[in-house]
Subunit: 440 residues, 2 copies
């Protein structure tokens, strides 16, 4: 499974390598500083949830070209033997400062900074942007879904429609960080010890002579873990069939966990199904729903009084459908002793190595951030968000466990005022830029 | 790299396995038929480009659980020892009929059908939908970009913003099928022998004291392969700097390949830059552009008379940004000797094992398809689109090479009338359903 976390420096854009050869020939081996940050909020967003650092550091700690990589590069005719000999011994020896996974952060704030010899700092651009960008995007989308569900469990059902298998396991992990309760993705469950969950498919129901037969068979196999899918033919009749089988289960001392709705008008259907179950004395049978939900759909049906106890959220979270990429960039901010900025229209960035300071009030709530130079003195009681996580190419301390990251996110999120959690992203959390940073 | 193509049956949703245990206990080992098809066109689409079959077949040909998979499943408490013993010897022994990669197809048409013992046919649902769905989505998006570029080369620049590393290499492959000229993704270049291409980053320019110094240094390293990025500070001044260095290159017998625009208003900038280059006698220096393009952006700037010779297309193609998922489903269509359909609102599907027949006119143009039962007799001169590609779990014939697939796409696409290639998807290609299929 190493490929999921360690594609190596060969996962890169060609220009990182052609530039590297030119740096090599011009003997440009001095240290460079780069900042990874997001330039704009996608529509509706007003915060980001940092994710992907674990993969990024694991990747960088073992960042070497294989002999076959070098043979391939030679075959392109773009590289000299001298430079290929340099790449043969290439590894990452630099420093990384980064926000821990689960940190809430905002646009323009560096979520990660690299300081390393120019070639090393440059080559990892593609890998870092991809790793942190993708997982942060999903964790952010998932946090919005969990927040919209207002305490009801949300389960990742996205494996079939993510953009690849690796994406599916990363989505499961990122959404678990952001508070999802479980995943349907068995591989992710095994890789990351995330709780797994599932119900049944329409094909299960249609493979029996009747829906009631299908429910009864499933109840025999899973007398205390079954959730029946009730919309294959007609949801109301499905609920009645489910109730009938559930009552037979009760007689045997078994118990139906729930039913699942997967199509149709969720508010009215869920209320009708609830009534059917309640009238049968099955108030403890839960209603799961899974019909193209995202944060907006969840908020909407809850707002309208749907009787839904848990949400299965698939495709739209798994590809962050309304914002399937972030405007995340990795920009050189200093080289040798020179601070650097770029002036392309709409693409100006802040120079120098930086730190992000967060001010909290007496109740521990986050009240404002300041982006400053790395060694700038800001007020004493502010929290520094960028930690030193890698020195001389070595990971500084063991990575936190996934559960620790999830707990950290939960604490961080509870410190953020509700106003900044709106699904419409109307309120912007205050982020200041220090005077010294503005001066240069 | 096996993980890129062969995640095994463990890449699945939990319910595939819980259903399988229930089938196992109910001794439901008869053959089932499943159809993989797309229910709706995403906005603007009016055709799909089949991709992903190669990965799907490679995956199915070696589809077994590992000992650690089985240990994990045991640990969930959901599975009996009897069933786990069954999974230990599990493999795929069924039949697959599918459209070759590079085939143009339409909504509701099965792009792949499986016939296999129920459990085998069921478990692979998540894997098949993900594999064919993702790659087909990208190939379709990429075909639209290539068509919009009207003969100008289009290059994949998406590696940094795809949804993971695996996604990046699959995007490079799928877009190459659809006619992209090259990719910036070195790993994909190596894995699939796709031509690689690249220019330079803003950081290259900013790491030198001046833009002109940066261009001159790059020209020394790549005297006949350089493309200068000219928008780091000011695009017009950048073009003048590039022209100056290019003329010095000419004196030495070298040659600048091109310049790249990456920000700003592309139509006017590209025309001004073209004039600067032409006035300097550099008519052969090409202009590359890469600023958030997709098919709409490409069509727009060409329509307005931009002087752009080639497009770098990144993020928006790499995640299919305006339609980042397909409504692709895998539905049971028969079990034992019973044809099966499902009636959920908006989710009705066609029962029975099927074939898709394509009618062509005297010039070889595709004029209409008919979805029919597998063994139905339709007009003699129609082409059958679903090939028998796997029998008894074995791949039927060697997979075509990527270049053969790319050529096949190109031929197929040239047989499709321009009306159906509109970026707005206004015209629907005629797809009929046979009388016999309508009857059941």
């Amino acid at each position: 499974m190493a490929i999921f976390t360690k594609p190596g420096p060969f996962f890169t854009d060609l220009y990182e390598l052609t530039m590297a050869r030119s740096y090599f020939e011009n003997k440009m081996f001095d240290n460079a500083g780069f900042s990874l940050f997001i330039r704009e909020y996608p529509k509706g967003r007003s915060y980001f949830v940092a994710a992907g650092l674990g993969d990024a550091l694991e990747g960088l700690a073992d960042y070497t070209f294989t002999p076959s990589d070098l043979l391939y590069l030679k075959s392109t005719g773009l590289f000299t033997d001298d430079f290929l000999a340099y790449l043969k011994d290439f590894k990452f020896t630099g420093t990384v400062r980064a926000m821990p996974e689960g940190t809430i952060f905002f646009k323009d704030e560096p979520v990660l900074e690299v300081s390393a010899p120019l070639i090393e700092a440059q080559i990892l651009e593609t890998f870092l942007i991809n790793t942190i960008g993708f997982q942060t995007m999903i964790a952010t989308k998932a946090a919005r879904c969990v927040h919209a569900a207002a305490g009801r469990p949300v389960i990742d059902f996205s494996a079939r429609r993510t953009q690849g298998y690796e994406a599916a396991v990363k989505v499961a992990r990122s959404s678990y960080i952001a508070g999802f309760a479980a995943t349907s993705n068995v591989l992710a469950g095994k890789l990351y010890a995330i709780p797994v969950s599932g119900t049944m498919a329409h094909s299960y129901v249609t493979s029996f002579e009747s829906e009631a037969d299908a429910f009864a068979a499933y109840a025999r196999t899973y007398p205390d873990k079954a959730i029946f899918l009730i919309d294959t033919y007609d949801t109301i009749q499905g609920a009645k069939n489910a109730a009938k089988v559930a009552l037979e289960m009760v007689k045997k001392g078994d118990r139906l966990v729930g039913v699942r709705l997967d199509s149709g008008e969720m508010v009215s259907l869920s209320r009708q199904v609830r009534k059917i179950l309640d009238d049968a004395g099955l108030a403890d049978v839960k209603i799961f729903a899974s019909s193209g939900f995202d944060e907006y759909g969840i908020a909407d049906v809850i707002d309208q009084g749907a009787c839904i106890d848990a949400f299965g959220v698939g495709t739209k979270m798994g590809v962050s459908a309304d914002a399937p990429y972030l405007d995340i960039v990795y920009k050189m901010v200093c080289y040798k002793d020179r601070n650097i900025r770029k002036l392309s229209p709409g693409k100006v960035n802040l120079p120098g190595e930086k730190q992000v300071f967060r001010k909290t009030d007496e109740k521990g709530r986050s009240v404002g951030d300041t982006i400053a130079l790395k060694n700038e003195k800001i007020q004493d009681n502010m929290i520094k968000l960028l930690d030193l996580v890698m020195e001389n190419g070595r990971i500084n301390s063991p990575s936190p466990s996934l559960v620790e990251i999830r707990d950290a996110f939960s604490r961080n999120f509870s410190c953020l005022d509700e106003a900044y959690k709106s699904l419409n992203g109307v309120e912007n959390y205050p982020v200041a830029i220090s005077h010294k940073l503005l001066e240069i």
